[in-house]
């Protein structure tokens, strides 16, 4: 597969995941506007922006972060993450970027995938956010999630499981690794007694029901952390994501899973091993913050290794023997 096209698929997957991640966080947070005290909401906004690695909008000039989120209105904070052209990570911008990638991929992309993506773009571009807001603040992010799930379904149904698909899904899971790590880092800060925050984290990660089935409704921070770090059955856990990355890289590697493994593949195995071994001790005894800080660095390295191995490799290495 053409290296540039592989990179476009990879980035398209990353942008889809980025948009969905932001939409999930917003969906959860905006749904709570109706019955949550202002100071808790402000704290939530602060955590949300921290999880996304986003500074607050420049219009918030108050120096103290917590106070800034308290005085800002929810509409402006949400709009900045959804549709503000000044925000390169806004949902609309992620969609535009994914569409730009897709435009370069028309020969490889099934027509239905393109039309689904294109329809979604027109829908989002032409949405009047204030009207959506009037109908329910979380209606628009919920709509974005629905559109993205439809797109995922079309991709699953229409794309053959070749390298194009692998790079697309690889992009999604590399992005998920980075975003989830950042999310867990930002959630490691609140006091362990904040029941609502931990429940919220589970809900944002679409893992609350699964958690309740496994651990009952008693939400313990240590259990939540373990659940979202090392449970391989939860789609938004780090363990799940790194296993998918490893499996996709195995498919992309011409030698499959056989020696010698390519650098990204080796790195993925190392990360998977880190989750399995470092977190084997009772989670209460693990310094989650340090672990996540190292893991975040490793995720960035994973991205660099993938690009260096499959896209920007030296020409002399690529010559036919």
């Amino acid at each position: 597969m053409l290296a540039r096209a592989a990179a476009d698929f990879y980035w398209m997957g990353r942008y889809f995941e980025r948009a969905e991640h932001t939409a999930r966080l917003l969906d959860y947070h905006l749904a709570r506007l109706v019955d949550t005290p202002a100071d808790v909401l402000a704290h939530g906004w602060q955590a949300l922006y921290a999880a996304l690695g986003q500074p607050p909008p420049v219009s918030l000039t108050v120096t103290d972060d917590a106070e800034a989120f308290l005085v800002a209105d929810a509409f402006a904070l949400a709009a900045y993450l959804i549709e503000d052209p000044a925000n390169p990570n806004a949902i609309i911008q992620s969609w535009i970027n994914a569409r730009d990638n897709a435009k370069q991929l028309r020969p490889w992309l099934p027509v239905r995938v393109w039309t689904c993506l294109n329809d979604g773009f027109f829908w989002l571009r032409d949405c009047d956010f204030s009207e959506y807001w009037a109908r329910g603040p979380n209606r628009l992010p919920a709509g974005v999630i629905e559109r993205l799930r439809l797109l995922s379904g079309v991709i699953e149904a229409r794309m053959s499981r070749d390298d194009a698909w692998r790079f697309l899904v690889l992009g999604r899971f590399v992005e998920r690794l980075q975003r989830q790590t950042s999310l867990l880092q930002s959630w490691s800060r609140p006091s362990d007694g904040d029941y609502q925050m931990w429940t919220g984290l589970l809900e944002v990660c679409a893992a609350y029901e699964a958690y309740c089935r496994k651990h009952s409704m008693v939400v313990r921070p240590a259990h939540v952390r373990a659940f979202l770090l090392s449970n391989p059955e939860i789609p938004h856990s780090l363990s799940f994501a790194i296993r998918r990355v490893q499996s996709l890289l195995s498919g992309i590697d011409p030698a499959g899973g056989r020696y010698p493994l390519r650098a990204p593949h080796r790195h993925a195995l190392r990360l998977a091993a880190a989750i399995e071994t470092d977190l084997q001790v009772p989670i209460e005894h693990v310094d989650t913050w340090d672990f996540l800080a190292d893991f975040a660095e490793d995720c960035r390295e994973m991205h660099n290794l993938i690009i260096a191995e499959y896209v920007d490799y030296p020409l002399e290495r690529g010559l036919p023997s």
Partner: protein
Amino acid sequence: MVSKADTSVTAPTPSPGNLGTTAHLSFDRARPSVASPAVAGAGAFTHYSIDSRFRDEMFRSDGTLRTATEQLGTALNNATPEQLMQLQDGVRRQFLHEGITFTVIGAEEAAEQIIPIDCVPRVITASEWDHIDRGLRQRLRALNLFLKDIYHEGWSLRDGIVPHDLVLGCPQYRMEMLGTKVPHDAYVSVCGTDIVRTHDGFAVLEDNLRVPSGVSYMLACRAAIKQAMPRLYRAHNVREVLPYPARLYSQLASLVTWTQTPRVAVLTPGQYNSAYYEHAFLAGEMGAELVEGRDLVVHDGLVFMRTVTGLKRIDVIYRRVDDDFLDPVTFRSDSLLGVPGLFHAYRAGNVVIANAPGTGVADDKALYAYVPDLIRYFLAEDPILDNVETYLCRTAEGLTYTLENLDKLVVKEVGGSGGYGMLVGPHASAKEKEDFAEQLRTDPANFISQPTLALSRATCFTDGKLEPRHVDVRPFVLQGKNDTWIAPGGLCRVALRRGSLVVNSSQGGGCKDLWVINEEKRDM
């Protein structure tokens, strides 16, 4: 209403090459109980006026339907305005959802635009088309022989068929091609020839031999119309154009001599090119690679593309990049679009480039005037398709005539395209004519002039009404190792502005489907 514009349509949107099954529009579904024959100026055609200066594709001069358009005209006449609106909206939306776009060069806003499509097909009979088909084959044979000649022996120059300076001074003439062996002498593998129709019949307006574009719009129009009016389409026994990508692939692959399984790539300048949609579309439909210059590398005289598993050899490049930008080592050194060393690989016979570098000399608008002579010279045949009368401003007589008749003529730059760099005398202001006259005097060799043609008019649905608009057609000719194939149809371009003669999409033009119908019809 939540959306500013309702674009959330869920109607199926099949690809041009892969039609789905969908409910067609209601006017096409039901056979009218009483088929009232259409007449220009009445019924659905109330706003339709026949102008004796222009041949009308739908109606005879007395306002009755032509035999070939009887079924179509009757169906339109029996449709309600709402049904016609629904039809037009349906095909337009299909273009929107599939992202069938073009980019207007220099436009500051909305750089990427959906190409306007008209829902009423133009109809040509098979016998009329066969005449065009024979003429195009003849023309392409002569042009290929001419190109081989000017880059080898040069007999046509020595014998004075074409002036030396016209060829050697043409910016598209490539010295680098002198003596270069072109696989199977197929200099032009893909040709798009613009053909107009007047009361006198069909005539060639210009040949496009470099990187002719528009074929994807032809295919998209066909797919959209076929879906919108399947019964009428079937009833008309229309000749099929959809095999074009497969034929293009096989014609290109046939030019390779060193392998039975060549790897074909479409070389595009990138997604900001005005025809990028087409490049991507053709690559996808052919199963070819869509590459940019940065994806290719020349090593040991061979061309490779960067894949995720290393470099893979490319055998055929269907290039959509102008000669100038093809190879910075050989042509323009500031080109970022090309591949360093590509021309070296080409001269070594290790890659096929279609169309060959240097073919642009044969679609120069000044050389166009000599094509009938070239046909006689190389083929010893009379031209089947006429040329439009052309005055070369490079000659004293041509310049004088042009300056004296500026208000009646269309003046074009010899290297211009896309409707730019031209003056339509009858529609131009005094100031525009004055400016153009000055340019003519300054650089006469850069211009030709032609009479303002009475382009035929076809039925279009614009502003909620059926009205006639001027049209031309660009058929596409494919030349392979042994044979020539012409898509039985073409990109029918429409000047959507009332009275306008400029059909280019960059100048307010649109497109419509062209039906070449076999005389024997099927039941609806």
